[in-house]
């Protein structure tokens, strides 16, 4: 808790709620994505998010490959979803 260990160096997808709310109408942290690497499904809130790169890098909690990259420039947002096969987006509250 007091020192930064590699295990501590990430947050989770809950923190993407704000940045994604600028792009999507739906609340996106409850969205379930399928990882293109290991084919497991995870809620966006459960991805491991590394924020010290320019922008955010979200990795699969099971296999670690990058599922999503989100970079905000002065005029545009770049969203790279190469590592995600599909998203299931709930349209009603839980």
């Amino acid at each position: 808790m007091e020192s930064t260990t590699p295990q501590d160096a990430y947050q989770d997808g809950n923190m993407l709620a704000g940045p994604l709310s600028e792009i999507f109408l739906a609340e996106m942290t409850r969205t379930v994505g399928t990882c293109a690497g290991c084919r497991t499904s995870h809620m966006l809130a459960q991805l491991r998010v590394y924020g010290h790169a320019p922008g955010f890098v979200a990795r699969c909690p099971a296999c670690g490959i990058v599922n999503m990259r989100l970079v905000r420039g002065p005029t545009d947002v770049w969203l790279d979803m190469t590592g995600t096969l599909n998203l299931r987006i709930p349209m009603r509250e839980a």
Binding site: M1, A9, N14, T29
Partner: protein
Amino acid sequence: VPEWPGHLAGQHVDVRLTAEDGYSTQRSYSIASASDGEIVELTIQRVEDGEVSPYLVDGLALGDAVELRGPVGGWFVWRPKQTEHVLLVAGGSGLVPLMAMIRTRRAVGSLAPFRLIYSVRTPEERLYKPELLQAGPGTDAVLLYTRRVPEGSQRPQRPQRPPGRLDAEDAKEWGWPADFEPTIYICGPTGFVEHAANIFVDLGHDAGRIRTERFGPSGG
């Protein structure tokens, strides 16, 4: 916050600070209060070498404007219509969004049985001390000290245990049994959340009922 739309317990806001030269940075902070008109309460822990929190704690004066985005988040939330048992597990300032759940439960008169396990390093770092001592009927709170228990206390500590990290015995004793199928909310530094979530999965709790929020090394 003018025109605040109200929020759910567990949601957060992004606070953006912009310097005169245009440099801008932002952090997420959990909302501590139950939804109540246009008042929004944040609890911010000062991180010594942090970029944002020292300014918010020491540099911000009453009446200063800050840029907020939110409320955001829809998974790490407790809704008043939930009636199942709830176990809240906090590491340090991870207590903040869980406090919003306790306050919301009280504000709406919910009968959902709540338990809180609050892991904190030292007595000085405890948050919401008076309020948690009287969390109200239906909310049991237990404090676990990881480094140092209070000195010279007249009352025996509850629970009586040496300072140390949350372990499976604590989780069994102070949590709900897996048979009760509680929803478990765990919030704190990333290492704490991983550790605690593993304990509850090992005790037989369905991972699908465990909701986690990690704020990184220190929550700066």
